[in-house]
Amino acid sequence: MRSYVADLHVHTLLSPCAEVEMTPRNIIEQALEIGVDIVAITDHNAGDNIIAAERAAEGTGILVIPGMEVETREEVHFIALFESLAVYAEWQRFVDLHITELVNDEDAFGGQFVVDHEDNLVEVKEVMLLASLHCSLAEATAEVKRLGGVAIASHVDRPSYSVISQLGFVPADVTLAAVEVSRRCQDKGAQNRIREATGLPLVTASDAHTIGDFINGPKTVLHLEAASLSEVKLALSGSGGRHIGEFLYAPETTR
């Protein structure tokens, strides 16, 4: 068993609200620099930059988890994580069936860029990614579970796009492996209250939209036998000796 530093919520420049510096290559380089072992790429309702991130991470020892930050009909955000690109591709088919037809306004929301592992622009994505899918939180999380993935409610301490703000509490028919608190929720008492109120394990992540967020944002230490999603799953449920360790905060944010 060893400890892995994980950031399970990272946006790339594909998310309209993320800076263009958030290229997969740059994220992986910084991860190496600051000692992050597991990076989940979680763009809003899309995953076109996952391949580039996996290529950029080849030979580095960093595990890239294919993921997505999903927005459901209730305007709840959650992180969906998958074992492999092949499983992710199945999830993408589900998303394609439920995505809105709206076109992004780049001036209002920012650009949505797909790049390769060397930062070359491949495509500007036109469909509006900052919109809710036509499916409920229960339906979406059930599909994640069917695919053997992991669903984690995003930033449940935040006043918007959180399962708590939107629905008041976690509904019984929603299949979540954990809930995430944002960097704004570093108080242990507040974290314990959320853990008790939701009855779910707690993680934190950077939710990075800039390289500064990624470097300074919170990370979760996971105690695993190896770096893989199935091991992460075990750690979230606290089985087989795997478990969630401490939350790491950069000096700038804990001062």
């Binding site: 209730e74 409920s136 708590i164 703000s165 939107q166 629905l167 008041g168 509490f169 509904p171």
Partner: protein, 116 residues
């Protein structure tokens, strides 16, 4: 003042489940409008009417918790199956209307239902 039984005509609304007779006679003491359920839990008053565009089953749970007199799901949103079932079980007057949330609140206000 508005009683629950007057809502269908006032708001061109339909009940999604059978409402117990005594619940129909409740006089709505105040109104609240929000789609954020955690906000409603803290703000809505007992025997009030809540206007929302959310059709999730937690709407019913929050309404029962707060002791609301009625909930109107506006803007043509259809409450999901679980919400309809739960409203029936709880005897909660849950209505839908094609009217926008703005128009719904306006008609309630004009009829004498003021903010919580």
């Amino acid at each position: 003042m508005v009683r629950v039984r007057e809502l269908p005509e006032l708001l061109a609304a339909a009940a999604v489940a059978t409402i117990p007779e005594e619940a129909l006679e409740v006089t709505l003491s105040s109104g609240y409008a929000s789609d954020l359920l955690s906000n409603v839990m803290g703000q809505a008053k007992a025997e009030g009417v809540w206007v929302t565009m959310q059709g999730h089953q937690n709407v019913v749970a929050v309404a029962v918790l707060a002791g609301l007199g009625a909930v109107v799901v506006a803007g043509g949103t259809k409450p999901d199956g679980d919400a309809v079932r739960k409203a029936g079980q709880e005897g909660l007057p849950l209505f839908t209307t094609e009217l926008s949330a703005f128009e719904t609140v306006g008609r309630l206000y004009r009829a004498g239902v003021v903010g919580a």
